[in-house]
């Protein structure tokens, strides 16, 4: 690449800023229709929840034997999705992946919003939500439920900080560029949230320290969160749940579904706001590779679990295996294995399908499959009889489906609203990334021309003056 022919950083940045602010400034009719649709679904769910509040959990299909259902599945699913974000963004940031900048912000938004949605489902699952605070009053650290409360609270605070901290320079950018172009409320948000950011060296250093600490600490926090979520199952003596693999299985599954959700959100925003230049096929392909790697890991964990348990086939396991592999849950289970784990790998194996539509297809399949997996883990575990009685059956009622749909709508709604307010592309990081890349290119060219020795050019942290 000839650096002289590269578009100047100034022009490129100006275009990037225009493209990033476009969603905030321009609203299409499709946006309003989409928003109205989400509000209606959410409102319908609220109505269903009002019924549940009035009549109690009686309106759900949950009874004495199967006492967890769609809500807890949704809780696990959303908490899983929340790993999208932070974990992917933090790992990519910590490993200095050069392509991460355009996707990190979206990933971090997914995290914060999914976490709030997931936590909501715990409260929805309570027959007496007014007793929620008893967990703080009477909670004991010996209880896995308490571990959950601790881990999720920590994760929520950490991921909001991790979303917000790297966004400050971009908020300042919005504050400066969108002055008098947006309404009073958004102006106030930018003014407040930008924290007087002027890009002084002090501010940069403080921000850098904050980001560094957060990106490191958030990785163990995120791992702990989904491990602990798995332990509300794994700490009980129930067939199907009584396994030591649950922690890692859930964490891997969480990252797996997180990547898939990121791909889907990325694809939608890219299409909607014409960000094809920034979010390229490369991003889809790299995330697709990650998806395939985690699919293989999930296959390995599943084989490992089912083989060790099935080889010994303790009492009750036979029932669990039969219902999962052959009977009531065979359909969803094989969907999960074949379409959710095997097909995504195949999609990434063949160069022909390794395209953007291919990766998106794989992501949709993975998200569906991972939701199904959460569902059958919850329900099949409770369905295995503990005493010689007939196994119970569970199928969610319309109220449960409505509330679940409202949860999905809430998730989409929050992202939809965020798009109208916040910078969804990490502008300053994308500019830095590009400058780095150009500097590296330039350095290599100069080395090739013999005008600079390798030691001098390699990884010069300051952008060189090669860009006009």
């Amino acid at each position: 690449m000839d650096p002289m022919k590269v578009e100047s950083t100034h022009d490129w940045t100006e275009r990037l800023i225009r493209d990033t602010t476009r969603p905030v400034l321009k609203t299409t009719p499709i946006y309003w229709i989409w928003l109205a649709f989400l509000v209606i679904v959410f409102g319908w769910g609220l109505y269903a929840y009002s019924l549940q509040l009035r009549e109690g959990l009686l309106v759900t299909a949950m009874r004495d034997r199967i006492s967890w259902g769609l809500y807890i599945s949704a809780f696990v699913f959303f908490i899983g999705i929340s790993h999208a974000g932070t974990l992917i963004s933090a790992i990519l940031r910590a490993s200095k992946a050069k392509w991460r900048a355009p996707v990190t912000r979206m990933a971090e938004f997914i995290t914060a919003v999914a976490l709030i949605t997931g936590a909501m489902f715990v409260v929805i699952d309570l027959g007496r939500p007014d007793r929620f605070f008893n967990v703080y009053v009477f909670g004991r650290w010996q209880s896995p439920i308490m571990w959950d409360v601790m881990a999720i609270t920590t994760y929520l605070v950490a991921s909001i900080l991790y979303l917000y901290t790297p966004m400050i320079p971009d908020l300042a950018l919005f504050r400066d560029r969108l002055k008098n172009k947006v309404g009073f409320f958004r102006e106030w948000i930018y003014e407040t949230a930008a924290l007087d950011w002027l890009g002084t060296s002090d501010q940069k250093h403080a921000l850098g320290r904050g980001i560094t600490v957060l990106m490191i600490i958030i990785i163990p926090i995120a791992v702990s969160v989904h491990t602990v979520v798995s332990w509300i199952f794994g700490m009980t003596l129930r067939v199907g749940w009584n396994t030591s693999i649950f922690g890692v299985l859930f964490v891997a599954g969480a990252i797996f579904s997180g990547i898939a959700t990121l791909v889907i959100v990325m694809a939608i925003l890219r299409k909607a706001f014409h960000w094809e230049e920034y979010i390229t096929e490369l991003h889809f392909r790299y995330l697709g590779y990650l998806l395939a790697i985690f699919a293989v890991i999930m296959v390995y964990f599943n084989v490992s679990e089912f083989l060790t348990v099935g080889f010994k086939l303790e009492e009750g396991e036979e029932f669990a295996f039969r219902q999962l592999f052959l009977e009531d849950f065979a359909g969803p289970f094989w969907f999960y294995i074949v379409l959710g784990l095997v097909v995504p790998v195949l999609i990434m194996v063949f160069p022909k399908t390794r395209s953007i539509p291919g990766v998106i297809t794989a992501a949709v399949l993975v998200d569906l499959a991972m939701f199904i997996e959460r569902y059958f883990i919850v329900v099949t575990g409770l369905r295995v009889p503990l005493m010689p009685y007939e196994p119970a059956d569970y199928f969610p009622t319309w109220q449960e489906w409505s509330i679940f749909a409202a949860g999905l709508a809430f998730f989409a709604l929050m992202i939809t609203i965020a798009v109208k307010v916040f910078p969804m592309l990490a502008v300053w990081e994308m500019v830095e990334e590009r400058e780095d890349r150009l500097a590296n290119h330039l350095g290599k060219e100069l080395v090739a021309n013999g005008s600079l020795d390798a030691a001098g050019s390699a990884h010069n942290s300051e952008p060189t003056g090669g860009v006009p």
Binding site: T9, V157, Q203, G210, I217, W428
Partner: protein
């Protein structure tokens, strides 16, 4: 809760004891007596042996059945509870053993139960219970690893929150933007006026307050039910008190008038719960593990009343003293409607 069958059994025993006492009168050998050797003081969790010697005159009585009981109070009721029952050997000695569970035994008694229908004065005594001792109902299972405790949990979580607080404080520093040159950047526009940095303060405060609150919640760690039984507290051992009949009155409504409105169905629903019907027949009469579905399945009031009064199979019988005809009619009306509603 005592099941109806058990109550009837104890009543029968009590009745027969009275009958035997009347028949036996005072004709039996008055010189048969019981002597007891017991420790003065024991600790909770101890295995206690009480030696009882039954003699007739000077001769030991072989094969006499003796029973060791203690005075127990639970839920405002004080009754005798059997600890052990043995028969005497050739020396007239019976070794009565039990595990000390209660923090206070009250009056202990060794009584003669047979085989002869004779009237023997029971031997009463007391055993002091020393404070402390083992917790009662926590099994010995588990491995206690020193250092692996709540403090460690607090240290780990505390460290994590310290780092989060550090990151939040960096935001406060960003907000201060005091010194240092403004670096050139394509990203910065011209002339932004100074805003305010209060948001970073609020964020940092929130993080710190949440962290402190969490430590507080962790450090409180209220006792669970098992541990409140450390000394004579909550006792999970099911105890069947002798010689007493418990009429089942239902959990009772806090305010009975709420089930006494004009609305027959609403009342019926409450009463259905009050008398514990839902325990077996499921909420809304949908059926449960041990009892059939009732919603929409109940026939005429006559047949329904017969079943409720009699209690077919394992169902307890609800006699008119317990469940009035009016309440029964309300339940009946409710169950018929419940079927229609659920379709």
């Amino acid at each position: 809760m005592i099941r109806k069958g058990a109550v009837r059994g104890t009543t029968a025993v009590a009745a027969s004891v009275i009958v035997f006492a009347l028949l036996a009168g005072t004709a039996a050998a008055a010189d048969t007596s019981i002597a007891v050797g017991a420790p003065d003081s024991v600790a909770v969790g101890d295995r206690v042996a009480v030696k009882a010697v039954v003699t007739s005159g000077d001769a030991p009585v072989e094969g006499a059945i003796v029973e060791l009981t203690y005075q127990a109070s639970f839920g405002g009721i004080t009754r005798r509870v059997e600890l052990d029952r043995e028969s005497t050997d050739a020396n007239g000695v019976a070794l009565l053993e039990y595990e000390q569970r209660a923090a206070d035994n009250g009056e202990m008694r060794v009584a003669y139960l047979g085989p002869d229908d004779i009237d023997v004065e029971p031997f009463t005594f007391t055993i002091g219970v020393a404070p402390g001792g083992k917790p009662q109902y926590i099994p010995e299972a588990g491995v206690d690893i020193p250092g692996l405790n709540g403090i460690l949990v607090m240290i780990v979580i505390g460290l994590v929150w310290l780092l989060l607080a550090y990151a939040a404080i960096q935001l406060v520093l960003v907000g201060r933007r005091t010194s240092g040159p403004t670096t050139e950047s394509y990203l910065r526009g011209e002339g932004s006026e100074a805003g305010s940095a209060w948001l970073s303060m609020i964020l940092a405060m929130t993080v710190i307050i949440t962290a402190v609150g969490m430590m507080f919640v962790l450090s409180r760690n209220p006792l669970n039910q098992a541990e409140t039984g450390m000394t004579g507290g909550y006792n999970r051992t099911p105890i069947g008190y002798l010689e007493v009949e418990y009429p089942y009155l239902g959990p009772g409504l806090e305010d009975p008038s709420i089930a006494d409105t004009e609305d027959l169905l609403g009342d019926g629903r409450l009463i259905y719960f009050e008398y514990g019907c839902s325990g077996c027949h499921g909420v809304n009469g949908a059926g449960g593990v041990v009892a059939p579905e009732l919603a929409g399945k109940v026939g005429s009031i006559g047949g329904f009343a017969e079943d409720v009064r009699d209690g077919p199979r394992n169902m307890p019988s609800y006699e008119p003293v317990v469940l009035s005809d009016e309440d029964l009619a309300k339940i009946h009306a409710y169950l018929r409607e419940a079927g229609d509603k659920d379709g």
